[in-house]
């Protein structure tokens, strides 16, 4: 895996095929934690960390345990268990080390377990047949893409708080329409020739 491939992989994950705005992975936390900038940023960082660690861990599990034993079909349960344990560890670590952030994120941390983006990137790594470095980089890049999307989105939503919105659209509907516009903007990256 040379530098150029890694770079194009990262650019792909962040811009061209942004996990949230193009691949529809990670919508729940994207819509749920994006009301304020700081929580959005905190969530983003946690996700980057978890996604990178999860990519590495699931790669090792797949490469050294599941595939040699022919247990490929157990991939989903095995991966999700690894991710759940990882999130538990992150939660415990944050509680001790950065209690402020832990308090701010509150219930959203366990939500990272059920964040489709984390399981999604783990499975995509196996589908793309990336090696350990490639998987970790792709995981990190996907997390960065998620953070980019959620931060952009949070800034828009903070502004939306002060505008007049039709009653039926208050809350999620207007957020979704906004996300649609963001997604259209990101479609502009389509022409970027960064694929392998």
């Amino acid at each position: 895996m040379n530098m150029t491939t890694l770079l194009s992989l990262s650019l792909g994950a962040i811009l061209v095929e942004n996990f949230v705005l193009v691949k529809f992975l990670g919508i729940c936390p994207f819509l749920g934690v994006s009301k304020k900038m700081d929580t959005a940023l905190g969530m983003g960082f946690s996700v980057v960390f978890v996604m990178t660690a999860a990519s590495a861990a699931t790669f090792c599990l797949n490469e050294y345990a599941l595939t040699p034993l022919g247990l490929g079909y157990m991939q989903t349960p095995a991966f999700i268990l690894v991710i759940a344990s990882l999130v538990q560890l992150v939660e415990m670590f944050l509680k001790k080390a950065v209690p402020a952030l832990y308090g701010a994120l509150g219930i959203y941390l366990p939500l990272i377990t059920t964040n489709c983006a984390v399981l999604g990137v783990a499975i995509l790594n196996t589908q793309k047949e990336l090696d350990l470095l490639g998987s970790s980089v792709y995981g990190a890049a996907a997390g960065i893409g998620f953070t980019l999307a959620i931060v952009l989105f949070a800034s828009v939503r903070e502004r939306l708080e002060f505008t007049d919105i039709p009653a039926a659209f208050e809350g999620f509907p207007i957020a979704l329409v906004t996300a649609a516009l963001l997604s259209m903007a990101f479609m502009g990256f389509q022409g970027l020739q960064v694929f392998k």
Binding site: I27, L81, A168, A180
Partner: protein, 207 residues
């Protein structure tokens, strides 16, 4: 929390309309937007998720006295993941085209918030029959939301429904509807419509 002694009918109307998991409880939106590009895919995903919902709710309800509190999420996840993998394998074996179209989103049923939420909120504290029924009702609601989304997106985005052309000949499909922005916007409008209808009902009811 005691078991809900609601009638079967009201449970279904809850699942379908008043507590529709997607448009009211706002859960499970990732697959709804990703998969609703065509009605066939939407129905396939809806039925698969319903299958998993019913079985996982039933098993978790059966085991509810056996699972200790502090490992319950891990236990639920194992149960759900097992049924999802079973569905995945069955689809690959007997409906390979559907399996390919739904692709990544079948294993992602594991993290479909709906299933975990129902396990935590309902199956944990209710009997087996009620839990299974709840699974069925929520699954039907999920499928209904998927069908609503995919009808709009397939008709406007490709001019067909279930592969059959339904638009007048001069119609040029709005391909955007089949892509990411189309998903976001359609769901936004559907939830807005739902909220409007429910608000009206509330206002009328209060009078």
């Amino acid at each position: 929390m005691k078991s809900d002694l609601k009638s079967v009918g009201s449970r279904f109307s809850d699942g379908l309309i008043f507590q529709n998991p997607v448009t009211v409880l706002l859960l499970g939106m990732c697959p709804v937007m990703a998969v609703s590009v065509s009605v066939f895919n939407g129905i396939g995903m809806g039925l698969s998720a319903t299958f998993v919902l019913i079985f996982s709710n039933t098993v978790i309800s059966l085991l509810r006295k056996f699972i200790p509190e502090n490992v319950r999420i891990a236990a639920y996840i194992v149960v759900i993941a097992t049924f999802v993998t079973i569905v995945d394998m069955l689809l690959q074996a007997f409906f390979p085209q559907l399996s390919k179209s739904l692709g990544l989103f079948i294993p992602l049923i594991v993290v479909n918030c709906i299933i975990l939420a129902r396990a935590e909120a309902f199956a944990r504290v209710n009997g087996v029959f009620n839990s299974a029924l709840d699974g069925l009702a929520m699954g039907i609601g999920f499928t209904a939301a998927l069908i609503a989304m995919s009808v709009v997106r397939e008709a406007l985005g490709a001019g067909t429904l279930l592969g059959v052309p339904v638009m007048p000949p001069g119609f040029r499909p709005a391909l955007l509807m089949g892509l990411a922005p189309g998903g976001f916007i359609t769901l936004g409008f559907i939830i807005a419509a739902m909220q409007w209808a429910l608000n009206r009902r509330k206002r009328k009811g209060k009078l």
